[in-house]
Amino acid sequence: MKQQTILEVKDLTKYFVVGRSIVSSGEVVKAVDGLSFDLFQGETLSFVGESGCGKSTTGRLVLRLIEATRGTVSYKGRDVAKLSGGELRKLRREMQIIFQDPWSSLNPRLTVGQIIGEGLRRNKELSQAERKRRVLEMMETVGLRPEQYGRHPHEFSGGQRQRLGIARALIVGPKLVVADEPLSALDVSVQAQVVNLLARLKREMGLSYLFISHDLAVVEHISDRIAVMYLGKLMELASKQAIYSGPRHPYTQALFSAAPTAEVGRPADRVILSGDVPSPLNPPPGCRFHTRCPHAQDDCRRLEPEFRPLESGHWVACHHPLARG
């Protein structure tokens, strides 16, 4: 089945310069280095990887909240980086973001109504009453009560605040939502509610998610496809079934075998990695994973593997991918 592509990312790269001063030109952090992927209409593409691998930066680059060093992001065929100020503002309504930290993502001085209603501000035709009606409707959709309209964020729990953040993102009617670890600050019991809310909203509103997470249990639940990142690069990108049944990249295998499972007496076939993630200031030459890869060979240390499709829709950046199954 050929799906419609909503977002096309090519060679997306972001280098941060750190420690620049009068006496030094600083060092370059390769936060995101040459990512290419597509996002299809109506799917959930999850980005997984360790802390600091560039997942969140990718999400912000896609929305052009930070400017890319190189590469293109095309939303429905239009290059986001080339849009003028006015066009970009219009496009912003179609792409929204849900944040990780429900404490710093809500302005403590505003009320619920003001926070959610902010997205309607640019919609000049709306009367005050109509605006309020829409905000209340959205509050109901995400499971907030109408009497909470005039409350301030500090009166809410983490889960409620996250619902508030979701309502704020969705009221402008986006098509694409970047969810930047929306669950990691929440209690496990609340996580389940918010995951289910996100899944329901996706069905009802026809959303596509770019879901950033390091929680593999959640990712398995919500994703259609999974992208695995390591040190600013994509290691593997495939459907959820393909990744969970037979990862082809040694890093994916190690990452997923590290996830705890609830099965009792499951054989411990864990792949344990040694060492730490190398610094993105000075990533290793060749394959970035070779310093920790149990299957690394000579060419991995010299040549950077190309990110290539092994079979339809299953992309891997590895010279010696694991056998299927």
């Binding site: 970009l88 503002r89 912003r92 309504r93 930290d101 302005n107």
Partner: protein, 273 residues
């Protein structure tokens, strides 16, 4: 809520009372004064406190009690307006510097450093020397002198606030910089601003008195506290009480603003929230 916490704070309560009395005296000056503060009475020059002249008279026979009462008007007026000026100037420059960063930040903050490198009074005197001494130039001079303090405070608050995710969210909705600054950033840096403004009021009272003492404040015969003190200085030996009353007025006002400032800092401390 905030006012209640402030009044529960004993120091804050004293500060509020002292400042409140001060303002009340300034507002009710025509009712409280026993004489016209400008009327010269050559029959009673430099007399000590008596039933008729409660604080005595100065060298021209003007009633010092009435002058101190009316002086609170001029002194509070100057210090309030100059702090308002400094706040507005500091907020504008500090917010621009912090939010836009880079070259804007560097240019603005280096100018502020230059202003701060002068001792406050010296800078005010220099500005007054350039503009000429009158009431509004005193306000401008003091305002300019205190701009850098506000700019620094606002800039540092803005630097941390602009990284907050609610600012990013607002940008993701397509809102512009001006809207974001006024809606999301400035309202969240009011607490340090209020504290700084209150403390600056105390400094401004002192600075205004110093300028008046040096003959650069509100031009005589206007009864500002600095002027009264300056006039009394010549009679320190014969009639020391003349200097005490304006001195006490200045001290009380400064004390009140300082107490209020300290209490506000405690009450508004973001760590308590």
């Amino acid at each position: 809520m905030f006012l209640k916490r402030l009044l529960k704070n004993k120091i804050g309560l004293i500060g509020v009372i002292v400042i409140g009395l001060n303002i009340a005296v300034a507002l009710a000056a025509p009712l409280l004064a026993t004489h016209d503060p400008l009327t010269i009475n050559l029959e009673a020059q430099a007399v000590p406190p008596s039933a008729q002249h409660w604080f005595g008279t100065d060298e021209y026979g003007r009633d010092i009690y009435s002058r101190v009462i009316y002086g609170s008007r001029i002194s509070l007026y100057i210090c309030l307006l100059s702090v308002v000026l400094a706040t507005v100037g500091g907020v504008a420059t500090g917010a621009a510097a912090g939010y836009f960063g880079g070259l804007v930040d560097n240019v603005i903050m280096r100018c502020m450093d230059a202003l701060m490198s002068f001792p406050a009074i010296l800078l005010a005197i220099a500005i007054l020397a350039a503009l000429g001494p009158n009431l509004y130039n005193v306000i401008i001079a003091l305002g300019v002198v205190y701009v850098p303090r506000f700019a620094r405070i606002v800039r540092s608050s803005v630097l941390s606030l602009k990284e907050k995710e609610f600012v990013e969210a607002s940008r993701a909705m397509g809102n512009g910089n001006i809207y974001i600054i006024f809606r999301h950033i400035l309202p969240n840096c009011t607490a340090p601003l209020i504290v700084q403004a209150t403390a600056s009021l105390a400094y401004a009272i002192l600075a205004e008195s110093s300028l008046g003492f040096l003959g650069l404040g509100a031009p005589p015969p206007a009864p500002s506290w600095g002027n009264i003190l300056s006039d009394a200085r010549n009679f320190m030996m014969e009639n020391p009480m003349m200097t005490v009353f304006p001195g006490v007025a200045i001290t009380l006002a400064v004390l009140g603003f300082n107490l209020l400032g300290d209490a506000l800092r405690d009450v508004l401390d973001p760590r308590l929230k």
